[in-house]
Symmetry: C2
Subunit: 413 residues, 2 copies
């Protein structure tokens, strides 16, 4: 394999072709000769340059970090995020080969990551905004979260391996800082990065910022995010980080990877389902969302507990948790563990809904609603649901409690 | 400053003198000429070689790691533990300069750490075994735990600095493995390293190993130890890691340093106080122990909350926790935090009592009881107290609950 040691430079379309040509294994995967390859840009996120190249034999996707935020060149940013995305794929791919892409190549000087192309797949958010719901995807994402988090947790491995991986991802501080600030701090304070177009949201924003219960809960969630390294998280598992054909589903864009509470990934996913639910006008569509939330949770829980059960035969006793006690104690302790994950989900889900509505980076989902007053009603309802989640005196411990609260706020639609 | 780059070799008394001679700053601190220095060995722990050198002007203590456990040469062990002890001192000394020793020199090839000599101080366990109790020491240790943990926690600093320190100490895996195995796993299973002389303890050991509640709680504590990096811990804060004159108190031997739950250090300290309490025949002595536990806890809590209060003026909002909410919410959340620390204390305290009684490394405290049957009664009572702690359906949330349980088991004496 050729190695590059030229200084970093941002590639354009021709640069991409040249770069791919220099990598024999990648060139072979594409097939034919470089002039037969079609190369095009697909960047649509905030941060990076993304290209797809297709040749007669196959396709790859090339992602390169920029020294700044793609959509805001004034916001400077180190390049190493592509390293962490590659490291994430290397850590989780063996456990979820059918649900994410393999890291085919990583260039540590150009900060380029190459994975197989998913050009037949659609971004889940885009599909949902077009009214195409794929309930099976929710089960697959639940499976992904269960397998990727379980495999990287203390429940699966001796602590030394977990700590080695924590050491690696604890250096992903630039993107962790973005999560800490943009998701878990700024929306709750007056900050120039916050924005919302609709003045009718302003009173809710004010209420969020003056509610002691909201403030306390968001501080607890931030502390939990930074101080509960249960498993390697994807870190940005919204519906824009999922590509699907409806049957084949792949999680992409793990550059925010960090050790944290298992409920973080799941909370972001459910939060984005709920944002789309509130942006969906018809009751039938909403019913599919509710079904997807339920399916996701069942899939996650079932797989996670099944993987845990399989561990009973491990040799290193210190890696066994709740394995040797009697069945009823074992079930009780494992349920408590899962219940704690659910509490985190409810909290991070609410934080995601809020930051995607009044923070720096909004979701596009509501733009399908062309009627301003409908949009207002729905955005308000989503925000009020999230606020209510955070204000619960007793944390929401089960999906049933959570859905009850959701129904309550859906009745305002 | 001279640097050494000779390969590692274990120093003898003359080697120590030569080594100290080669370090101008240390030689100056000792004063006079090397032949005027008195050098003697003070190793009394399990792991390392420890020497004190005194010259006309002052004294130093030199600690060198061996490639094995000092008291068990067949148990091989990497040398890097002295690095972590030096790193621990560098991290916490600025916050507790009056309660520990400064790292004067660390040699990364010889794995030698040099700190000021405490030759006028006595090891706290030794003092207590001789019937010399210094209640003021408990307040000082509480202050040490509060200041060292607070300063290295997310409550005191931006998460980036905490993560950088976590990265460093997550490499202290050899000694963390010892804690995981010897403190939090082996005593609860049949393992060749466990031992106890008194057959009357055997039924209690059997009861510990068959109690589902004990098994579940110890697994939860192990998970919490490995998955709650709240602060930089000393990691081995027993009464043998404290040297005091009765007024001046210094914490030594931080080689087990790792990020973990704040209640771990405090739990080990209280556990060792309680072991000595049960080994103390007279009620008056026991009353002093109870007073020390109370004093320790009040001192810890008061200082920790005071440090937290001072943070209210920090500029980076994401580093503020429960600071901007109304006073009653703030007090509620902070009390909850402290209560969680107490729950950990109760658990780790119990684990320490158990492993110091039936695990690999026992405490000497009970050896002062020359009457076998008295010793048996008292060791049994200590073990049963610990078992009861671990078996509580509702975790012990306050010192009052904890002391109530302790009184109950003291009444068996
Ligand atoms: N493997 C792939 N195959 C085909 N297209 C892809 C692939 N990976 C990503 N894309 C396309 O590129 C877009 C941007 O990718 P990605 O989300 O990884 O970039 P990003 O800059 O990190 O975005 P964000 O701002 O969300 O962090 C995706 O929305 C998708 O349309
Ligand atoms: N700074 C010091 N000044 C004087 N004596 C000291 C000093 N530090 C340690 N000692 C003495 O050396 C002994 C061993 O020190 P220390 O506990 O650090 O060694 P260790 O081998 O790490 O022990 P352990 O088995 O507890 O880990 C202490 O019990 C004390 O008597
Ligand atoms: Mg991205
Ligand atoms: Mg030691």
């Amino acid at each position: 394999m050729t190695t590059h040691s030229s200084p970093y430079s941002t590639l354009d379309l021709e640069g991409v072709r040249t770069f791919l040509t220099s990598l024999p294994a990648i060139a072979a995967r594409l097939g034919g000769t470089p002039d037969e390859w079609r190369v095009w840009e697909v960047s649509d996120g905030n941060l990076n340059m993304v290209f797809v190249a297709e040749g007669p034999e196959g396709g790859v996707c090339l992602k390169q970090a920029l020294p700044h935020v793609r959509v805001d060149p004034a916001w400077k940013m180190p390049l190493d995020r592509t390293f962490f995305e590659a490291a994430y794929l290397r850590a989780v791919f063996p456990h979820v080969p059918d649900l994410t892409t393999e890291c085919l190549h990583f260039d540590p000087e150009q900060f380029i990551l190459i994975v197989p192309s998913l050009s037949g797949h659609t971004v889940m958010r885009t599909a949902m905004m077009a009214g195409h719901y794929h309930p099976a995807v929710a089960a697959q994402v639940g499976d992904f979260v269960a397998r990727s988090t379980f495999a990287t947790s203390l429940l699966a491995e001796p602590f030394e391996r977990v700590m080695d991986r924590r050491i690696c991802f604890a250096r992903n501080q630039t993107l962790t800082r973005i999560t800490v600030d943009l998701v878990l701090t700024d929306p709750y304070h007056d900050h120039p990065r916050n924005h919302w177009a609709d003045p009718q949201l302003t009173p809710i924003v004010a209420a969020l910022r003056t509610s002691p219960a909201v403030q306390a809960r968001i501080d607890s969630l931030r502390l939990r995010f930074l101080c509960t390294p249960q498993a390697l998280l994807h870190g940005d598992l919204h519906t824009g980080s999922i590509m699907t054909t409806g049957t084949d589903t792949r999680i992409i864009d793990g550059e925010f990877a960090t050790y944290g509470p298992i409920g973080f990934d799941a909370g972001l996913f459910i939060g984005n389902l709920i944002l789309n639910l509130f942006a969906t006008p018809d009751r039938a569509g909403q019913a599919v969302h509710l079904d997807m939330i339920q399916t996701f949770w069942t899939s996650f829980k079932t797989r996670f507990l099944a993987l845990w059960q399989e561990r009973e035969w491990a040799e290193d006793r210190s890696t066994l948790y709740y394995a040797t006690t009697d069945k009823s104690t074992q079930n009780f302790e494992k349920s408590l563990f899962i219940q704690n994950v659910f509490q985190d989900i409810a909290g991070f889900c609410a934080a995601e809904i809020i930051r995607r509505s009044i923070g720096y980076a909004h979701v596009a989902d509501f733009s399908v609603l062309t009627d301003q007053s409908t949009r207002t009603t729905r955005q308000k309802a989503a925000l009020l649901f999230a606020k209510d989640c955070l204000e619960q005196k007793k944390p929401l411990k089960s999906l049933a409690d959570f859905l009850e609260l959701l129904y309550l706020h859906m009745s305002a639609l």
